[in-house]
């Protein structure tokens, strides 16, 4: 499962839902894999405000991945001018492409996946298994 997905999930237990500790879930014994996918700069730009940045920072730290910047990057940090035709004397020939920051975020959110392991609730300690890239949020009947 992609790391982006974890931004939208919490513990499935009703009693945990309203407690801040049930988000984000904490990876445990996670086997990561890299699944290449084409980058979409517009998606990246507009998904950024959907991220709980603190949670994403915590997740990358717990997974031993490179640290994220302290604050959510601003949209202009996601692009760099790639070609500049100075002779043209106007901005029309300037093209922009994804910055290194954008590439890194794409790799982190869209390409880095948990192939197997567990996701642990910070409130109740319940461990949700991830197998073959699919997380299982079904609860044993006594916990529903």
């Amino acid at each position: 499962m992609k790391l982006l997905t974890i931004n939208f999930l919490t513990c499935a237990r009703k009693t945990c839902k309203s407690t801040p500790a049930s988000f984000p879930l904490h990876p445990k014994e996670a086997e990561l894999e890299q699944v290449e996918t084409e980058m979409n700069p517009l998606f990246l730009r507009n998904i950024l405000p959907r991220l709980d940045w603190e949670a994403m920072r915590m997740l990358t730290t717990e997974l031993g991945l490179p640290n994220l910047p302290a604050e959510t990057p601003a949209p202009e940090e996601l692009v760099v001018a790639t070609t500049t035709d100075l002779d043209a004397g106007n901005g029309d020939d300037r093209a922009s492409g994804p910055s290194q920051m954008a590439r890194d975020l794409h790799v982190l959110l869209m390409e880095t996946s948990i192939a197997s392991g567990k996701l642990v609730c910070g409130n109740c300690g319940h461990e949700y298994a991830v197998k073959e890239g699919i997380a299982n949020f079904l609860l044993p009947s006594h916990m529903v």
């Binding site: 499962m1 992609k2 982006l4 997905t5 931004n7 939208f8 999930l9 919490t10 499935a12 009703k14 839902k17 309203s18 988000f23 084409e38 979409n40 517009l42 998606f43 730009r45 507009n46 998904i47 405000p49 959907r50 869209m110 197998k131 073959e132 890239g133 699919i134 997380a135 299982n136 949020f137 079904l138 609860l139 044993p140 009947s141 529903v144």
Partner: protein, 251 residues
């Protein structure tokens, strides 16, 4: 006419086969009234909407929405996610979406971004307030009882792929709706005020035996000023619509 995603890889012994209800959802989501509503609600440059399909089955609906995001939302920068109690359905959904997105890329069209399909009960794994569009084709057939949910330990395991009893139960879970065919739908409706974002909207399929008019009226009485309307119908028989799609939202 947009192409229906291919589900030729799906094993219908244990996963619900796309049927009239699935196609009604697809047809409704591309009605000009619905695309206009969604484009107005999620204008370009606003944060990417998150689309959740609950009970994806083969994944045909989620794949369609992901691949046709541009048509439906007027923007391809949407995120999609699915849940199903059946782990095999989760596996199938990921593949159906992958194929549909690849087909779109071949004709040079951008698709939305699929996150994952997770095994779970309805929307219980989702963070409160995170879902912008929720789509549900429920088990709506009135039955005496609900089939048992898959147990925690039963969920996934390529080791136990052949298990006839489990497979028929998983299949039953995809259509058997208990009393009035509403037991599972009522649980999902109860989750909407929590799981939907402020701009959230839900599309829920009902059949005639679910008494759609009663459901509409119940939703309109929820606290917080909820609206509900029938926005798509199919299967006209002697003046009765057999199936309909409810749109539920806060204006």
């Amino acid at each position: 006419m947009l192409p229906t995603p291919s589900t030729s890889h799906v094993n219908y012994d244990r996963i619900y086969e796309p049927a009239e209800d699935s196609y009604l959802l697809l047809d409704t989501l591309v009605l000009s009234t619905e695309t206009a509503f969604l484009k107005d609600r999620f204008p370009p440059a606003t944060p990417s909407p998150l689309v959740l399909e609950v009970g994806t089955g083969s994944g045909v609906v989620l794949a369609f929405v992901t691949a046709n995001a541009e048509t439906i939302f007027g923007r391809a920068d949407i995120a999609t996610i699915g849940t199903d109690v059946n782990p095999f359905a989760c596996e199938a959904t990921a593949e159906t979406v992958r194929v549909a997105v690849t087909e779109q890329a071949k004709v040079g069209k951008a698709s939305g971004r699929f996150c994952d399909c997770v095994t779970g009960d309805l929307s219980t794994a989702l963070k409160h307030g995170s879902v912008d569009v929720l789509i549900f084709n429920p088990p709506y057939v009135p039955t005496e009882a609900l089939p048992e949910m898959p147990t925690h330990s039963e969920a996934l395991g390529s080791a136990s792929r052949d298990n006839f009893e489990r497979d028929s139960r998983l299949l039953a879970l995809s259509y058997a709706g208990g009393a009035d065919g509403m037991e599972t739908t009522d649980r999902l409706l109860g989750q909407l005020p929590d799981v939907l974002s402020k701009r959230g909207v839900a599309y829920v399929l009902l059949c005639k035996q679910n008494r759609p008019q009663d459901v509409l009226e119940r939703i309109r009485e929820w606290l917080g000023g909820w609206h509900a309307d029938i926005v798509g119908t199919s299967g006209k028989k002697a003046g009765w619509e057999r199936l309909c799609i409810l749109r539920i939202w806060r204006p």
